[in-house]
Structures are given as C-alpha cells and as structure tokens.
C-alpha cells in the first residue's frame, strides 16, 4: 500500500472512530441532561410541598387565633355586656326623670352591641360554616351586612353549590370575609354584588364586586408575597393552598372585582396532607 492510500485509509479509520465516539458522547450527554431535569423536577416538587406545609401551618395558627378570639368575645366580652344590660334593667327611673330617654337609649345600644358582638363572634368561629355550609354562611354574612343599611347587596346563587369539602369551604369563606372586609375598610362603595356559581361541573366560582374607589391592583398583585398588603397576601395564600385561582381586577375609581375559581376535584394538597 502506497502512502497516499495509507493516509486515505488512516483518515477513514479516524472518521469511523470519531463517529463511534460521537454516538457515545451524545448518549452520555443526553442521559445526563435527563437526570438533571428529573433532579430539578424533584427539587421543585419538594420546594412546593414545603411551601404548602408552611402555608397550611400559618393558616392553622390563624384559624386557632380566630377561634380563640371568637370564644373570648362570646364568653368574656358578650358576657360582660349581658351583665351590664342586666344591671341597668334592674334600675327603674321615675317617670318624668330627665334621663329616662337616654337610659332607654343606653339599654338599646347595649342590646344592639351585644347582637353585633355575637354576629362577629359567629363569623370568626368555624361553627357557622361547619353547621350550615358555605352557601348559607355567605347568606348569613349578607344578611348581617344588609342590616347595617350602608350597602345595596345582591347575592346570586347559581347551581346547587353543595360543596362536600369542609376544609375548602372554610378557606373560600375566609377569602370571602377578607374581600368584604376590604370593601368595608377601603372601598367607600355603595353596591356589592356577590355571585356563587357551581353550574360548571368541575369548578366553584365566587365573585365579589363593588363600585368603590378601586386601587392599582396590577401593581400590588405583582409584588412579591412579603411586600403585598396583608389582606391581599392572605387571599392569595389561601387560594394557593386549595389550588384555586384568584383574580383581582381593579382600577382607581372603577371599583373592584375579586374572582375566585376553585377546582372541585378532591385531590387538593389539604386532603393529601390530612390522609
């Protein structure tokens, strides 16, 4: 074999060996990237699980605090109001006394205060929603709001809205309470529209809309969790826990709409971690 042929043969052998090598390197790199991806996925799953456990613990602490507050209001504060009313009732002013009207007014105020206190205590406690369910618990809150006389409130229930998951109902109810509290505290609204919709098979939808002064929702919602206002943060945190999707649409002077969409599939993180 002459040298040119030897060089050509050598070149062919090298090309063949390089092809073999390329196949080997491509296989190892591909398998390694696959392992890398699955490792990242596992890491993400662990991070999500940890985050959810943390959220769940935070909410449990909050619920315990609210329960405790509810009991204290009912047992201690309401009890003292009742005692005060009782003592006042035992006092009889002679007719024609200049303070008779004021005295009657004081007793009325105490009675009204006692009723309001009991309502607040009920709303903080979970017994209400546990005994009558989400639909009726929201109805009770609507009735209480209407009594105040400051808002025109419409409550529209579409579908059966019989939600068989107590944990999710509690969280939806808390989100509802938070949204309503925000309207009362900040919105300066006159109309509140509430829609509870379960006509879609796999979703429960809760819409709370007002005609108040609104706010720059986009900017506030885009902030990281820690810098968002507490109420907004709580709503998002609770929604995340039950795999719900919450949208808050608001513009200055254009009112606010809170749209909560909750999946009805029972495989939420709450039920997983409780089994």
């Amino acid at each position: 074999m002459q040298y040119p042929k030897a060089i050509a043969a050598g070149f062919l052998i090298i090309v063949f060996l390089l092809a073999l090598l390329l196949v080997f390197i491509a296989s190892t790199v591909y398998l390694y990237q696959k392992k890398h991806r699955s490792f990242l996925l596992k890491l993400e799953e662990t991070r999500i699980k940890y985050e959810r456990e943390l959220l769940k613990s935070q909410l449990e602490v909050q619920e315990d605090t609210l329960q405790h507050l509810s009991r204290e209001l009912h047992d201690s504060v309401a009890g003292q109001f009742t005692l005060a009313k009782l003592y006042l009732s035992t006092i009889t002013l002679p007719s024609g006394h200049p303070s008779v009207d004021k005295f009657a007014l004081v007793i009325d105020l105490l009675t009204k205060g006692l009723e309001d206190l009991r309502d607040v205590s009920k709303s903080l406690s979970l017994d209400l929603i546990r005994s009558i369910g989400l639909r009726k618990a929201i109805e009770a809150q609507v009735i209480h709001l209407r009594k105040a006389g400051e808002y025109y409130i419409s409550y529209d229930v579409r579908g059966a809205c019989d939600y068989d998951d107590e944990q999710k109902e509690i969280i939806v109810f808390r989100i509802f309470q938070e949204a309503v509290n925000n309207i009362i505290r900040h919105a300066q609204a006159t109309t509140i529209r509430i829609v509870l919709d379960s006509t879609t098979k796999d979703r429960l939808r809760l819409i709370i809309a007002d005609n108040g002064k609104g706010f720059a929702a986009k900017q506030l919602v885009q902030r990281a969790d820690n810098s968002r206002p507490g109420g907004l943060r709580n709503m998002h945190v609770r929604a995340r826990l039950i795999d719900a999707h919450i949208t808050i649409i608001s513009l200055p002077d254009k009112g606010t709409t809170v749209d909560l969409s909750v999946p009805l599939a029972t495989d939420s993180f709450l039920t997983q971690s409780n089994t």
């Binding site: 074999m1 050598g10 390197i25 190892t28 490792f39």
Partner: protein, 216 residues
C-alpha cells in the same frame, strides 16, 4: 521486515500529536484555577513522548521502553482516577489492583528477565482502567451534584481513557492473530487502528485541558 505504510503513517501521526499534546499541556494545565487533577497531566505527556525518543537512540531496547511506559501509564491513570472518584473504598480497590499488576510486572522484569510487554499485562491494565472509567460514569449519574459536562475536564479525560482502552484489547488480539498467521498487512492495518484510537483520545485530552475555568 519494515512495517507497512499504514502503520508507519499512523505511528508518525501519533508521535507528532504526542509532542503537540505536550506543548498544549504546558500551556493549559497550569492556568490559575485550572482543575488540580489536570496539573499532573503534562507529566503524562512527557512520559508519552519519551519512548519515541529513547527507542530512536536505543532501538535494541524498544521492548523494555514500551514495558516501562505501560507501567508508567497505568500508574498515572490510577492516580488520575483516585483524584476524581469520590468513594474511598473504590480508590483503595483501584490502588490495590494496580499494585498487584505492578508487582506482577516487576516480577516479570527482574525475576524472569522478560523485557517485552505481553498481552496479559495489557489486558489487565485495560480492565482496571475501563472499570475505573465506568465507575466514574456511574458516579456522575448518581451524585446529586449537577455539572456542565462540556466544561468538565474529568468527563473528557475519562471518555478518552475509556475509548482508547476499550478498543485496545480487540485491536491487539486481532493484530496478534494476523501476525501469527504471517499476514503482516492485516496485522499492521489492525494495529494502526490502535494508534488512530489514541489520536482520537488525544483530541479528548486536549478538550479536557481547554475546558473553560469557572469564575469564583
């Protein structure tokens, strides 16, 4: 009998690239923050180039030179794998096997006065280094640390070692088979594949040396 042109060309190519590899190793292996296990690679390159020089001066001792170089090669790569493998037990096993093979080689050299490398020795060396390479790949896949393979010198070095030594055994076996049948042409052709495989592995060693160094 002079070797065939294909074998001569392959050996010339291998020798030329050995010197280029030595120069490249002196440039790249001592960069600041280069992987510490690469700093010993220039020594391997020097050891790689010496046999060609020595055999030119003392052609009669070619067998002995190759024998000593093979022992040096085994020791160097065992040291290299002991730097990149994490398991202490595996390193201990690796060094024990290498020591056993070394003892065997020294026994042959001094006690039996055999100065030519034999197939048994080459096969033992190949198996040890192939096993070490495979263990490295296993380690790569099971440890949770994720690295960029394209910039990992140990990956390229190990691939080069595995590639060369996996091809070495069949090429030597088949070459010897044809030499025993007095078919010089086929024997040389197959033996030249060994040289070309080493050329390709030099390419991988070069890639290992030139991997970019991560910023602190």
């Amino acid at each position: 009998m002079t070797p065939t042109p294909i074998l001569l060309f392959s050996q010339w190519l291998l020798e030329t690239l050995s010197w280029l590899l030595l120069v490249a190793s002196l440039i790249f292996c001592f960069r600041r923050r280069a992987a510490s296990y690469m700093r010993s690679f220039p020594w391997y390159c020097i050891g790689n180039c010496l046999p060609a020089l020595v055999t030119r001066m003392w052609a009669a001792h070619t067998g002995l030179v190759i024998y000593v170089f093979t022992i040096f090669e085994l020791c160097y790569f065992t040291y290299f794998f002991s730097r990149i493998l994490l398991s202490k037990r595996t390193k201990a096993v690796l060094w024990s096997l290498t020591s056993a093979v070394l003892l065997y080689a020294i026994f042959r050299l001094f006690a039996r006065q055999v100065f030519n490398i034999n197939l048994v020795f080459v096969v033992l060396e190949s198996f040890i280094l192939i096993a070490a390479s495979l263990y490295y790949f296993r380690q790569l896949f099971i440890t949770p640390i994720v690295v960029n393979l394209f910039e990992q010198p140990s990956y390229w070095m190990t691939t080069g070692v595995l590639f060369y030594f996996v091809l070495l055994i069949p090429t030597l076996c088949f070459a010897n088979y044809f030499y025993d049948l007095h078919n010089r042409f086929m024997g040389d052709t197959i033996y030249s594949v060994n040289s070309y495989a080493q050329v390709v592995s030099y390419g991988l060693y070069f890639k290992a040396m030139t991997c970019s160094i991560p910023k602190p």
